[in-house]
């Protein structure tokens, strides 16, 4: 799939998107300058990070702990801010956790 229409003539009338769920192919991860890192030893599995993530990219794993899909995480830090026991820290992209 082409990322952008080549010319204005290929712009769909009214900018209508006919492919359901195509936001999936628009990866917002590269916008990120800070990355959330989970310390599961502090996590109480409350799911607040999952609820508050505006990107909807925090998912619960089979072990009941949570993690962000870094293809979409914008690094806004809301999960880290909301986490009660401070189990999430935001670190500079490119740095080791």
């Amino acid at each position: 799939m082409k990322k952008w229409p080549e010319t204005w003539k290929e712009y769909n009338t009214g900018g209508i998107v006919f492919e359901p769920g195509n936001a999936r192919s628009f990866k917002t991860g590269p916008w990120r300058s800070l990355r959330p890192v989970w310390d599961n030893s502090k996590c109480i599995k409350c799911g607040v990070c999952y609820i508050f993530c505006p990107e909807g990219c925090v998912q619960e794993g089979p072990d009941g702990f949570f993690a962000a899909d870094l293809d979409y995480c914008k690094g806004c830090g809301i999960c880290a801010h909301e986490c009660w026991p401070s189990a999430i820290s935001m670190i500079e992209e490119g740095q080791e956790s």
Partner: protein, 389 residues
């Protein structure tokens, strides 16, 4: 064709819309469009037509509601005036961007302040660049005709843009005029059912009103501009179809007694009828004067204007709005732009007139025409006619 009936023009406008097989209307009443909103609500509540009337708490919601309905493939209508149109402002440019063929009735009224409920064109002029198609009626018959034409224009597959039909507030909306209504069968023949380009339905998911990043926004603007410019061809063609079926002629620039005219006066809206009387009187006195009536405001008919002024020495442009600290009247700026690089263009005099409901009488047109050489000599880009000095 039925016999003429005497009817208030706003009520007649609602009757015309009711002939158009609409599905959804949402209006928030505001003077002077209230009678359109009220009468259409009556028609729907009485079950005369099968449509939904959404009672909304504001004009912002009225336009949002009809856009949502239009997105599902419904034929939609809204109406407003002045501050109501201002309140729609945030939504107005989104309707054409989404290519939703909403039809709007505008009872043109001055924008506050000072607070004023009477007629001028400052409401539509302030929304000029929202991307809606805009047409102007001179009288009640034209308003009725234009509402029926408007749905066909807006919904044409090569157009798919919203359109507003402008009627001068009070001067048109509140006067009783003789009006010939087409029959339902005639309207059905003229106006085919709306076939949307795409519509919202759970069985075929799609997204409307999407994000446009810097990588796509420019192309979106270009696509929309091309559609708007090209709409003129369709408008002219639909007006010709109308003339063929109903015998009443519509053109982007209508001419009245322009043969051999040295002076032309240009109007937009209901002043045109008054100007005709002035032209008749002056012609009788031997003055070589003619009248141009602008029916199509957006897309602006540049070529038609160039053609219409050919041979004239003086062009007097009347404007019912002012661009403060700008080049004068908005109609006149477009006309100056249209003629700038033309050889032998006429001298242009611009009068700002009929503001906030001030009457424009036949003798005012005489005075504007007679005073044109003096106005030109003053060197001012525009004159505010009749202002008490």
């Amino acid at each position: 064709m039925t016999k003429p009936v005497g009817m208030e023009v706003a009520v007649a406008a609602a009757e015309a819309v009711a002939l158009c097989n609409i599905d959804v209307a949402a209006c928030y009443p505001i003077t002077p469009n209230t009678h359109i909103a009220e009468h259409l609500a009556d028609i729907i509540a009485d079950g005369r037509i099968d449509a939904e009337y959404i009672t909304v708490e504001s004009e912002h919601s009225a336009l949002s509601a009809v856009m949502g309905a239009s997105g599902t493939g419904a034929r939609t209508f809204t109406a407003t005036s002045s501050q109501g149109l201002m309140y729609m402002h945030e939504i107005l440019p989104i309707t054409p961007a989404m290519r939703l063929p909403v039809v709007m009735g505008l009872g043109n009224r001055a924008v506050s302040g000072p607070i004023n409920i009477w007629n001028d064109h400052s409401d539509i002029i302030m929304q000029r660049d929202s991307g809606w198609l805009s047409i102007f009626a001179d009288n009640g018959q034209e308003a009725v005709d234009m509402f029926i034409q408007a749905f066909k224009i807006a919904e044409h597959p090569d157009v798919l843009l919203p359109i507003n039909v402008n009627m001068d507030g009070f001067q048109l909306t509140h006067v009783v005029e003789p009006i010939v209504f087409p029959t339902q069968a005639q309207v059905n023949k003229f106006l085919p059912p709306y076939k949307p380009f795409a519509s919202l339905h759970p069985d075929h998911p799609l997204s409307m009103g999407t994000l446009g990043l810097p990588e796509i926004y420019t192309e979106a603007v270009k696509a929309r501009d091309v559609a708007t410019v090209n709409a003129k061809k369709v408008i002219v063609q639909i007006w010709q179809e109308w003339e063929k079926q109903f015998g009443r002629k519509y053109e982007p620039v209508m001419t009245y007694k322009t043969a051999g005219a040295e002076i032309l006066i240009l109007t937009m809206g209901s002043m045109g009828e008054t100007a005709e009387v002035a032209v008749d009187a002056l012609r009788k006195k031997g003055v070589k004067v003619g009248l141009l009536k602008l029916k199509l405001w957006r897309p602006f008919p540049f070529d038609e204007i160039r053609k219409a002024v050919r041979g004239a020495k003086t062009l007097v442009v009347t404007d019912r709005a002012l661009s403060y600290g700008g080049p004068g009247g908005p109609v006149c700026s477009e006309i100056r732009a249209a003629l700038y690089d033309q050889p032998n263009r006429p001298e242009i005099v611009n009068y700002i007139i009929g503001l906030g409901g001030r009457d424009v009488r036949v003798e005012d047109f005489m005075k504007m025409i007679e005073g044109a050489p003096k106005a030109k000599k003053s060197g001012d880009a525009y004159q505010i006619y009749g202002v008490r000095e």
